[in-house]
Amino acid sequence: MRAVIAEDLYLLREGLSRLLEAHDFEIAAAVDSAPALLRALLEHRPDVAVVDVRLPPTFTDDGLRAALDARHEIPGLPVLVLSQYVEQLYARELLADQAGAVGYLLKDRVFNDDQFVDAIRAVAGGGTVMDSEVVSKLLGRRSRDEPITRLTAREREVLELMAEGRSNSAIAQRLYISEKAVGKHSTNIFAKLDLAPSNDDNRRVLAVLAFLNS
């Protein structure tokens, strides 16, 4: 699996490269600025891109913009955006095209390399991965709204993990319940939130995020 890495801090860039190589990724390019990222993405068309939001030249959200531009050129190009902070605004922009294959995670998530690599693979596979901080904020915002209050505590937990982009089996493992139970909860959630049920993981995530973002 070929990856492009964009990170302006040398130590982090090297660390990420080593981490991905250790998990059998091939590093097509490791760049340190937004223009270089855009060039690398269009040239190498990697299976996944791991991008820092803040990059030269302006050190604002150049990385995010370059990634969005690249996805405009190559629809559905898998991009995992890393940041020291998460903004729902940016999450929205990443999700806006409804094409999936996006991820938005705090940089600290790198500490848990297994989960982090799983997230990269999920994005590369067309899935959607949202940081739990984004999801909890989304839920917090809607917590006073009528449909959300109808969910049970367990259903809320399942909803949160679904929104983060986890599969039924991952949710079951995390909550120590059976996959069947997860399926039952998810049916209930979709009914209560008035969403069209879907067995496809990716479409399910997008539906949930779209609902929370509305």
Binding site: R54, T60, D61, Q84, Y85, R92, D108, G140, R144
Partner: protein
Amino acid sequence: MAEHLVTGGRRVGWLLAGLVALVCAWIMPVGHVGWPVVLEVAAVALIILWAPPSVRRAGPVALILIGLVGVLLALSDHMAIAVAAIPSPHGGSQVGGVVDGRASGWRTVLLLQSAALLAAGVWLIWGNSRRLLPVRAGLGTTALVRWARPRRLALLLPVAGAILVLLVEHGGSHPPWNSASNAVGLSLLVAWLFPTVGADLAAVAVVVLALWGTADATAPPPMAWAHAVGGSSLLVDNGTSNWQLALLGAVEAGVILAFGAWLLPRTIVAHGRSVLRPAPDPELAGRVQQLTRTRADAVDTAAAELRRVERDLHDGAQARLVALGMNLRAAERLVTTSPEAAIALIAEARQTSSRALTELRDLVRGIYPPVLADRGLGAAVQALALDTPMRVETDIDLPGRVDAPVESACYFAVAEALANAVKHSGARVAQIRIRFTPDHPESRARRGAGPGMLRIEVTDNGTGGADPARGSGLHGIERRLATFDGILAVSSPPGGPTMIVMEVPCALSSPKTSTS
């Protein structure tokens, strides 16, 4: 001077009583020598009583000297009456009730008076030049001048005083020169007590006297010389002129002239220049006051922020990094002997670093939210709306970036308003509306940074009752916006809704490309 006026209420009373007595003595009918003398002595004594503590501390010699000058000044008016029966060089004859023979007795007194006057003058200049000369003391620093300058009275007072002196002197039946010397003496005394306005008065009196003396030079010498000099002229009028007296008169006249010439540019000319300067614009003065206040507020706020950041770093990330280092060191030691314990420590170290990062993230957000730096106020407020645990509708039309400090102040103002809505109002929905009006007339009137006006409205449908006076963070917003000449208005009747309007004059920089 200021504390002197403030604490000396009773002494001001004495002064007034003294002045009233003096005026009474002056307008007493000619011939009643006794009462006016008593009154004038009392008046001068009262004026001395009023003298500031520094004068009293000057010691008995000084007090005696002042007293002597005062008494002599008071008496000299009546010396004039005593000798006025002798025809003046102008041909006029004045009627007095005093016999000729007493004139010789006054001679000694007059000489003493002249000497005392000179001595007092020299002593006053020598010992009190700092008080006498407001230029040296720092022109315009006394409370009286500060009070008088905007009212343009500082110039009026000495002029009025000089005119009054002349009117009184002409209106009465006294030969003018004698009393004019009184005016000089009194002026010196007043100049000493009122360092600024009094000095003006003294300077004017001295110069008027000198000029008058010059005008009177038609009289044959040594008359002209003698006329220029206070009490000595009376002796000349008395027909007992001699060269010693003429010399004395010349010296006295020279001293007075020199004194006047020296005093003038240092007192009334300097004062006049500062008084005639265009009066300070009250609007401008108010502006200066406001800027001083808001600047102090801004500095306080910045200092408090830095303290908070320092504390947060010290108690948060720094402490966690110390723990991290300790854990790693322990793991290092255990890794061969007890690998499992080492692994547990390393896992703990990882969690610690994660917590440190979380704390740093929160801290950064509190200092300058990254999205604000990235995208500007409009997007940052949108992001804030998304993060707020309440439905927040935004209606933002901001075709460009505002200056970073204004952006930051407005962002935190909106954040505070939203936080209040969440915490206190029980509202279900909040609305944020942001508009920019270029070339806003009120913005120009407030002399803000630019001609435009940024208007932010935060409305919620909660229970209302927000009051900026009762703390609740609104006052903080108000102070923060005031640094940029911004204002805050709150409408929050009990039962709601609450509407907070903020207006900040500012300029909009060229729009940046935005994907939002």
